[in-house]
């Protein structure tokens, strides 16, 4: 006598279609914005690359210039903001995203080029600068997270300290060459300070004790001269902390 109301299969399918359309649009929109972000990062990298070329050219012309005329900070605010943005993209777009990996590789190359150039300028002009090369990995490395925090706090304390972070496992020959040159072990984190390699977690105090010359760059942190590339930074970027 009693009968169930028949299922309205048509409606089930229509709603499925609407929901799928919304989801596909959402995925497309998200992908669209992510691509925009990747484009923005590419544009920043391109600017930095140009800056670097400009500095290299300046350096080549050094014989004809005095040291005070040359830019002393190629690690410009653009490169700083790039550090944060690449780290953010790894978390939000995906650590295995092809674009993000590619951006990270170019970023690492820019860092190496900046490091080499800065080293040459420092030697040529007799500046007191300290460079830290920091090697980390993304997976299963709590100490890398801690080392990241430590280096960030060191950067805050010594704004002239240059920290270059490298993903140990990034498949790029230049990083592999550095690992080989400095004999960086796979016991991470590892830091290379002025050519010497230290493996395992190093606290702020340990780094300061090992490098008393850090004090000198702290003292030397004056009001920046107005140069073509200003050293004034509105933000101090975090060092990669996984």
């Amino acid at each position: 006598m009693h009968q169930h109301e028949p299922n309205d299969w048509k409606k089930y399918i229509i709603v499925l279609f609407i929901t799928s359309t919304i989801f596909i649009s959402g995925l497309w929109l998200s992908n669209y914005f992510n691509n925009k972000k990747v484009d923005q990062l590419k544009s920043i990298e391109s600017t930095i690359s140009l800056d670097l070329m400009s500095s290299e050219t300046q350096f080549d012309l050094l014989q004809e210039l005095s040291c005070k005329d040359i830019s002393t900070t190629v690690l410009s605010s653009e490169l700083n903001s790039l550090t944060e943005k690449i780290s953010y993209s790894e978390n939000n777009i995906g650590i295995e995203n092809v674009d993000v990996i590619s951006l990270k590789k170019s970023y690492s190359l820019l860092e190496i080029k900046d490091y080499l150039l800065m080293k040459r300028i420092t030697e040529r002009c007799g500046q007191k600068s300290i460079f830290i090369l920091y090697f980390y990995k993304n997976d299963n490395c709590d100490d890398c997270t801690k080392q990241g925090y430590i280096l960030t706090s060191l950067r805050e304390k010594y704004p002239n300290l240059r920290v270059y972070s490298f993903d140990y496992n990034l498949d790029i020959s230049a990083i592999k060459a550095m690992i080989s040159i400095y004999k960086v072990p796979d016991n991470l984190p590892a830091i290379v300070i002025n050519g010497k390699v230290y493996s395992g977690l190093k606290t702020v105090e340990e780094i300061e004790k090992t490098f008393p010359e850090l004090e000198s760059i702290k003292v030397e942190e004056p009001t920046p001269k107005s140069t073509t590339k200003t050293t004034t930074k509105t933000t101090i970027p975090a060092v990669k902390t996984n």
Binding site: N7, N92, D142
Partner: protein, 424 residues
């Protein structure tokens, strides 16, 4: 692990959006069928009706409930009110004596056995064509009965009609939050009514044809959610349950988190156990919407709530863990050393966030339609945000506990939460 999590999240999100859209499409399709009865509604005939009020230690509040029943606009000789004292240990029995001379009222007393036993006693003692109950802390709108009976008059196949339950006199934030939830439930229940998929005939003032009990038997002991069991039994046998949006019943709701927790623990526990008892219905297309839509979506929502909660909790733990590591490593001063500058780049464009926003918009639309059905106009209230935030935080606790209790079969006590209604 990350990708498994993402897939699970998308699946839950997809199903939740699907369910809300299903309601919305049903609303757009059927909105002209939502009848608002006039104040002076008349029925073509006035059948006999029995309303049972089971009372357990309700001496202080029963008076108001009975008076609301006596003020119902219905011929007095056609309505019987059964006041059943379910073995109260307070003054309930003496309190209801004041009504003993009223010809519409029948007083019954029995040993305590739970609400369903009180209702069954009333069913045994009635010969009315229609039967309903009212919890002893609920009040009923004078026109509610006529409006409900009009549904039976219009469609002889309708075997039960559920009312719209409205939070009575909400005072604190928690009660305002529940008001939002109840308003939304009015909308979803009406849509389920259109689809033939109502899974609970709420305790307060659901009206049944007496034939339902004659055919299918009286109330069964069913994990303290007998109002759900009877609805599932009816659905199994193809007995139509509808919903009357303008039959208002005002009910008192828990005013503290702990009371709300106990009430919901019982509801969710009952839902899970009844679902297990009626698992034979699941996904069988011959049982209609209840089997294909209502029960599966209810079940999935339990897992969805649990999953989201674990995810949010995981993120919170991760955040604090990282902060602790940071403090341990470099001290306090660096942790709170913010250098924040707004940059559009850091605005999340994750699709998961987008889908969550769509889902919340659909929920807000559902609440607004519910409010329109109750108050007659679309209105937006800030309580919607309290609702989303408070329920996101506390609902997982009763869901998880109910799931745990269901596994170990630990029932909550009916008397434990007296003065909290049995409505859903």
């Amino acid at each position: 692990m990350e990708s498994v999590y993402t897939v699970v999240f998308y699946v839950f999100c997809f199903i939740s959006v699907y369910v809300q859209l299903f309601f919305l499409v049903t609303f757009l399709e059927k909105r002209r069928h939502i009848v608002h009865n006039p104040e002076n509604l008349e029925l073509s005939s006035y059948p006999t009706v029995t309303i049972a009020v089971p009372c357990y230690n309700e001496g202080a509040t029963i008076d108001k409930t009975v008076k609301s029943l006596l003020s119902i606009d219905y011929p007095k000789d056609k309505i019987k009110i059964f006041l059943i004292d379910d073995g109260s240990t307070d003054n309930t029995w003496s309190a209801i004596q004041e009504f003993k001379d009223n010809p519409s009222i029948v007083l019954l007393q029995k040993e305590n056995g739970g609400k369903y036993t009180a209702l069954n006693l009333a069913i045994e003692n009635t010969t009315s064509e229609f039967f309903g109950c009212l919890d002893s802390d609920s009040l009923v709108h004078p026109q509610a009965l006529k409006r409900i009976l009009k549904y039976f008059e219009r469609d002889p196949k309708t075997m039960a009609v559920a009312p719209s339950i409205i939070v009575y006199n909400p005072k604190n934030i928690l009660q305002h939050t529940q008001k939002i939830e109840y308003d939304m439930a009015i909308y979803t229940k009406k849509m389920l009514g259109f689809m033939g998929g109502i899974h609970v005939a709420p305790g307060p003032f659901s009206i049944f044809r007496k034939k339902v009990f004659d055919d299918l038997g009286s109330y069964h002991k069913a994990h303290n959610t007998e109002d759900q069991e009877i609805a599932l039994r009816m659905q199994e046998h193809g007995y139509k349950i509808d919903h009357c949006p303008d039959a208002y019943v005002y009910t008192s709701t828990p005013d503290s988190v702990i009371k709300l927790y106990r009430q919901r623990l019982r509801w969710i526990y009952g839902f899970i156990k009844n679902l297990i008892d009626y698992r034979r219905l699941l996904f069988k297309k011959e049982y209609g919407t209840i089997a294909i839509f209502t029960l599966p979506s209810g079940l999935i929502s339990l897992f969805g709530v649990t999953f989201l909660f674990i995810n949010i909790l995981g993120n919170i733990i991760k955040f604090f863990y990282n902060k602790i590591i940071q403090i341990q490593t470099v001290g306090f001063s660096h942790v709170f050393n913010f250098h924040y500058q707004f940059d559009w780049f850091f605005v999340s464009t994750k699709s998961a966030l987008l889908f969550s926003i769509i889902l919340y918009i659909l929920i807000i639309i559902a609440v607004m339609i519910g409010k329109k059905m109750v108050e007659g106009k679309y209105s937006f209230s800030l309580s919607i945000f309290y609702f989303v935030i408070i329920y996101s935080i506390i609902a997982p606790f009763w869901v998880l506990r109910a799931m745990y209790n269901a596994v170990i079969s630990k029932e909550s006590n009916w008397t434990f939460e007296r003065r909290i209604t049995n409505n859903q």
